[in-house]
């Protein structure tokens, strides 16, 4: 079943790969290149799931996460965080702020796809 997915990341090549993977799963994909436009896109397009990078210009991933979680109307949005910062502290911070899942870069495409499936399934 087709879901709306929003990818927020400033690395063009990673965006291409994520876009390809999500579209292959049959989802409707949108892309934002920084935190600010990403947050705006969450509000206007109401995606089912957001793939969110941490290190980004303008507004970082944690800030976007906080803003989304602070908005009750966006309560159903699943958020999967991706980051090149592999430290455990970062991961804990993301989960504490309300991310549904957290994956370090470089990620396995298969586990990413599985994780997305899993998150979307719980949303129903």
């Amino acid at each position: 079943m087709s879901k709306r997915i929003l990818i927020i990341d400033d690395e063009p090549n990673i965006v291409i790969s994520l876009e390809f993977l999500m579209m292959r799963e049959g989802h409707e994909v949108r892309v934002a290149r920084d935190g600010e436009s990403g947050l705006a896109a969450v509000r206007t397009h109401r995606p089912d799931l957001v793939v969110l990078d941490v290190m980004m210009p303008k507004l970082d991933g944690f800030a976007v996460l906080e803003a989304v979680r602070a908005d009750p109307s966006l309560a159903g949005t699943r958020i999967l965080m991706l980051t090149a910062k592999g430290r455990e502290a970062e991961q804990n911070k993301g989960l504490a702020l309300g991310a549904d899942a957290y994956m370090p870069k470089p990620f396995s495409t298969r586990s990413l796809v599985d994780k997305v499936k899993e998150l979307l399934a719980t949303a129903d």
Binding site: D10, E11, P12, N13, I14, I16, S17, L18, F20, L21, R24, R33, D34, S37, M55, P57, K58, A84, K85, G86, R87, P104, K105, P106, F107, S108, T109, R110
Partner: protein
């Protein structure tokens, strides 16, 4: 118009004003806001040197001898040049030892000898009492002359009864006044601030009066609105009288030399001069101004002496008017009553200033060095239980009255006799006898108590023989034949031509013989034995005074003592409150909670003795302290050991201080180094975290696309190619990153190999453009070159410089807009440097980030998009340029776009191969 009651009224008003000033200054001193703690006040107080003898007598001497009055002021002017050493030493020692008078000073120097203090006091009293008589005469005469205004009449030496004699009343008044000024409290080293303020004020008054008369007379000579003076021309008698004044000469030169020397010594050694210059000095830095201000004062007060003398001689040609009174009689003759009154007040201030300070100084000496030692001997070292402080103050008050009465009696009996007129200089010679002991004691360690005693005694006896007795003879008290042929007709012993020395004036003659005998005896007797323990210890304090900012007595004492007894002793002289305060301060300085816990050691005993010295003089203090302690005698060897030890301890503590300072510096350096290390550690952490992030990002793309391609064989060829292209470029990015990280690490750690050669920047630019041609062409960007035609040679590594320019160019190319992009490379000289700038027409850099672009992994985004590149190009460029001695910076162009520039020092073109 000027009547007796008016003069008396004005005089009392003036003395009342003086007392008000003194009272006010004392109050201010008690409140801790001293008015005399000012170098100008100090210099003015020194002018107590100028007495009525100066005020009235200078004109008299000038009328008689022409310039003969001048050496009396020339000597002090010249000796002032030496005050930086001589007087500074005296002040410093006196502060440390709490010295209260010239007698105390000499006694203290030679082992705190009571005999020496007593002898100095006797000499000072005998030498100075006639001088005080002179002041009394000046006041009495000026009063009588002024009373007869407008008539000019010389007073006849009256034989009035005491009670109607002006001089006697003046003497009593001054005694009362001096007691009020000078014996308010006991600790003499606490100084008489009120008295000094009043003296400084008097110095201004007498100078003003003198200058006023001088100006009046000078205006008269110049025909400017002044009094009319008779013409001198054509009057032969007058012309001969004026000859010494109109044709001044400095012959005979030995007299000039002798009197200059005499005055130079007197200005420091007269009891009153020692009092104001040394005892009353509140800050040794005041000496610096006194060195020029005091001579300036002397110059001013002598400026009009000659004009006034000439005016006097031609106004009173009959000779019926004493030249000593010209100061007063001229204004009377010119019918200037108020000026005459001002002169009277000026003379009064000159006389009272001298009398007050001199009698205070003498009374301190008499009580501390004459009466108290006598009492101590009578008490057998055990003083009766009484308020000794009050007793001592009463002794001083008595001494003041006695000294002034002696002065009056001398005036009354010497009267107009020669003995009074010439007494000024004769007094100076008596006081000059202190010079060998004082000056020798400050610069020579070898002097002994006996040497000083012998010198003083012999000098004083010769003074009496060559100067005092002849002056008596001239007054008719001794047969005149005594002067011409010596006692018993032995011509060679004639007092005015001792050992056949003739042709000198009697002052020069007397000074020569008395000082010769004095110095000879001092050196000869001193050389008979080595200085003993106390003399050696005191010599160290006096001679080395300039080497220590606060000279202190070494703890040269051994024995047993009780703190309670020492305190009780001090209390009886200083009172309970001041003794408790002083002991409490001392206890605090030694880190002890209460005086009673002070150790009864040498330090404490020496402290108590110094404290007492301020009240009763060093010699008496020594005896008093010895009476309550049991002292063991120290041998010379032991004293020298202690002194040695003291200086070793000083040196050691100096070393310690230096070492602890070095230690502190080292600690501070270590702390700074540690801070730097922590900072470096943090930077390294940040760097590692950044590098990891930068490595993971391309790796993420590589892994993702590899897996996609691997998992899905059905991807269309076109997409497959695109993905493989991404794989290749991300791999390149990864290896570029790795290379740059290594490169940067190499440069930063200083392990990079630098080739140093002369490099022409034109070639570097060309090479860099060739390397980036592809990128620039791909983006459709134009490049404009503006290079100086002269070879821009710098000293550096060609490849590294190309690397910098490639970084700058590719950076600019990335930020310049595609197709319409335009880069500009400029090369031009600035001062001794060559500057290269690479400008683009891109979005520019936010102003707050201009400095940040050279930091690692700080990439400026292009319209929110992340630029390609590692974020290490500019940091590496900065490292390279700074390594080559240049600097690099970013700025925004006025229109649009960024401008990155670097500068390198120019190298001379000759070495270019």
């Amino acid at each position: 118009m000027i009547t007796g009651p008016l003069i008396i009224g004005v005089s009392f008003a003036y003395l009342g004003l003086l007392f008000a000033i003194a009272y006010w200054a004392d109050r201010r001193a008690d409140q801790g806001r001293s008015v005399i703690a000012h170098p100008t006040v100090y210099a003015l107080s020194l002018a107590v040197y100028c007495t009525a003898w100066t005020f009235y007598g200078s004109v008299g001497r000038a009328a008689e001898t022409g310039l003969g009055f001048l050496p009396i002021y020339l000597g002090p002017t010249l000796i002032a040049l030496l005050w930086g050493s001589l007087l500074l030493k005296m002040v410093r020692v006196s502060k440390a030892e709490r010295i209260t008078s010239i007698a105390d000073f000499i006694a203290s120097r030679y082992g705190k000898s009571q005999a020496l203090g007593g002898l100095v006091t006797v000499i000072a009293v005998i030498g100075v009492v006639p001088y005080i008589a002179l002041q009394l005469k000046a006041i009495a005469w000026s009063f009588t002359i002024l009373q007869h205004y407008p008539e000019v009449r010389m007073p006849d030496h009256s034989s009035l009864s005491f009670w109607r004699d002006t001089a006697f009343i003046v003497a009593l008044l001054l005694a009362a006044f001096t007691i009020l000024f000078g014996t308010r409290q006991l600790d003499a080293s606490e100084r008489h601030e009120g008295m000094v303020a009043a003296i400084a004020f008097e110095s201004i008054v007498k100078l003003t009066a003198f200058l006023a008369v001088g100006l009046l007379v000078t205006l008269g000579f110049l025909g400017l609105n002044g009094p009319e003076l008779p013409s001198v021309v054509g009057d032969e008698r007058l012309a001969s009288m004026l000859e010494p004044l109109l044709q001044p000469s400095v012959a005979p030169s030995q007299d000039w030399f002798a009197i200059s020397l005499l005055a130079a010594l007197a200005v420091m050694l007269l009891p009153r001069q020692f009092q104001v210059a040394v005892v009353e000095n509140s800050d040794e830095r005041h000496l610096r101004r006194a060195v020029w201000l005091f001579p300036l004062y002397l110059l001013l007060i002598n400026l009009f002496v000659i004009p006034i003398a000439i005016a006097g001689l031609i106004t009173f040609p009959e000779g019926g008017v004493d030249a000593d009174t010209f100061m007063l009689t001229l204004p009377i003759a010119f019918e200037q009553p108020w000026l005459a009154l001002l002169v009277f007040i000026g003379g009064l201030s000159a006389a009272t200033g001298m009398v007050i300070v001199e009698t205070i100084a003498l009374s301190t000496m008499v009580s501390n060095d004459l009466v108290l030692p006598g009492l101590l001997r009578r008490w057998g070292g055990r003083p009766p239980a009484a308020d000794l402080g009050r007793l001592l103050l009463n002794i001083r008050r008595g001494a003041i009255v006695v000294v002034l009465l002696l002065g009056y009696l001398y005036y009354r009996f010497a009267g107009e006799a020669y003995a009074l007129v010439s007494i000024g200089l004769i007094s100076f010679v008596a006081v000059a006898q202190f010079a060998p002991a004082v000056i020798g004691g400050l610069y020579w360690r070898g002097g002994t108590r006996e040497g000083a005693l012998a010198g003083l005694l012999v000098g004083f006896l010769v003074w009496m023989y060559t100067l005092l007795l002849p002056s008596f003879a001239k007054s008719g008290w001794l047969p005149p034949v005594f002067m011409e042929s010596g006692p018993g007709g032995v011509d060679i012993l004639a007092p005015l031509a001792l050992f056949g020395l003739v042709g000198w004036n009697e002052i020069t003659h007397g000074l020569f013989w008395s000082l010769t005998a004095n110095v000879g005896a001092f050196i000869l007797i001193s050389s008979l034995r080595d200085p003993n323990a106390t003399e050696a210890a005191q010599a160290r304090i006096f001679v080395d005074a300039l080497r220590q900012r606060h000279p202190t007595s070494a703890p040269l004492w051994r024995g047993s003592a009780e703190i309670a007894e020492l305190m009780a002793l001090a209390e009886r002289f200083l009172g309970v409150a001041r003794t408790r305060d002083a002991f409490a301060n001392y206890a605090a300085s030694r880190g002890v909670a209460a005086p009673t816990e002070l150790p009864a050691d040498a330090g404490t005993v020496v402290f108590a003795e110094t404290l007492l010295s301020g009240a009763i003089g060093s010699a008496s203090a020594r005896v008093m302290v010895a009476s309550v302690t049991e002292e063991e005698t120290l041998g010379l060897d032991e004293v020298l050991d202690i002194l040695d030890e003291a200086s070793q301890i000083r040196a050691y503590s100096h070393q310690l201080e230096q070492k602890s300072q070095a230690l502190e510096e080292a600690t501070a350096e270590l702390r700074a180094a540690n801070l730097r290390l922590t900072e470096l550690d943090r930077l390294k952490d940040d760097f590692m975290s950044s590098v990891t992030h930068e490595l993971r990002t391309p790796l993420a793309s590589i892994r993702a696309f590899s897996e996609i391609l691997y998992d899905d064989p059905e991807i269309p060829l076109e997409q497959r190619k695109r993905f493989l292209g991404i794989l290749v470029s991300e791999t390149e990015r990864l290896s570029r990153l790795v290379n740059q990280v290594l490169d940067l690490a190499k440069i930063e750690s200083g392990h990079a190999d630098w080739r140093t050669e002369a490099v022409a920047l034109q070639q570097v630019v060309e090479q860099a453009i060739a390397a980036t041609e592809q990128l620039i062409e791909d983006r459709g960007i134009q490049v404009r070159l503006d290079l100086d035609s002269r070879p821009a040679v710098v000293w550096g590594d060609r490849d590294r410089l190309v690397q910098v320019l490639v970084n700058l160019l590719s950076n600019a190319a990335k930020f310049a807009p595609e197709r319409t992009g335009c880069l500009e490379v400029r090369l031009f000289p600035v001062a001794a440097c060559w500057r290269v700038c690479v400008a683009d027409n891109g979005p520019g850099i936010p102003d707050d980030q201009l400095d940040l672009v050279f930091e690692k992994f700080r990439q400026s985004s292009i319209g929110g998009h992340k630029p390609a590149g590692t974020g290490l190009g500019l940091p590496i460029s900065r490292q390279i340029i700074e390594n080559l001695g240049g600097h690099i910076w970013a700025e925004n162009r006025p229109v649009k776009g960024a401008n990155l520039c670097f500068e390198l020092p120019a190298h001379s073109a000759e070495t270019l191969d």
